[in-house]
Amino acid sequence: MININRIEENNYLLIAVEGDADASSAINLDKAIRDAFDEHHQNILIDCTNLNYISSAGLGVFMSYIEEISTNSVNFILFGLSEKVLKVFAILGLDQLLTIKENKEEAQKALNGI
């Protein structure tokens, strides 16, 4: 089960992901990110503070946007990952191919080039 909330803040779109991103729910995560790209948001923050679990289906969603993030020069930043979730990103090195920050403040700083 997954809950996704999107909030348009000052200069970025915030997508908060709560619960489990697994084989049955990753499609909802994908839709939220697809919409953000289709709406041409240049600054996208993904709040993973309450992301309890991620499987290959959830990782695959993030993986599938790595090319677009680069091609369209989108600032796409994940933050708030628990240690266990971050370790899952690290198994295949996806933590090195995505921008991951510790918390929202760090993510905002990265966005503003500080």
């Binding site: 089960m1 697994d22 084989a23 499987s55 240690e83 370790k87 899952v88």
Partner: protein, 137 residues
């Protein structure tokens, strides 16, 4: 110690299996990070069986057995669906998947990175996949 759980053949039921595995592993005092890794590997294999092997047939189920040994834990996954030869599966290349904007293709890679041993026995009666994870003494 041995434990068993029947997973209904539905993606929506995978979270019940994850809770079962999590509870069993916590009861053996395994740390959270390790628990999550093992849960992930079992989840990937079961999702694969349910979606591809059993085509999400609601009349089918997958049996999961967990057995502890002194050196680690065995996860035994039994099903009667189409066989998937995980042991001899040629993994795709991560860079290619990224370039092609694929969303799939990494589940088995995760399983092989996490588990220390994987064995598959397939007969006309079905498939028995056994995965071993060493535990720190």
């Amino acid at each position: 110690m041995a434990y068993s759980f029947d997973i209904p053949s539905s993606k929506n039921k995978l979270r019940l299996m994850r809770k079962f595995v999590t509870d069993v592993l916590y009861s053996h005092n395994i740390p959270e990070i390790e628990v999550n890794m093992m849960v992930l590997a079992v989840d990937e294999v079961c999702a694969n069986i349910i979606i591809h092997g059993l085509q999400s047939n609601p009349l089918e189920s997958v049996r999961l057995n967990i057995k502890f040994e002194a050196s680690g834990v065995w996860f035994e996954i039994v099903d009667k669906g189409d066989t998937f030869d995980i042991v001899n599966y040629n993994e795709p290349n991560l860079e290619d998947l990224i370039k092609k904007k694929n969303k799939g293709g990494i589940g088995i890679m995760l399983v092989k990175k996490i588990m220390d041993d994987i064995e598959l026995q397939s007969t006309s009666d079905g498939n028995k996949l056994r995965m071993f994870k060493k535990l720190e003494a």
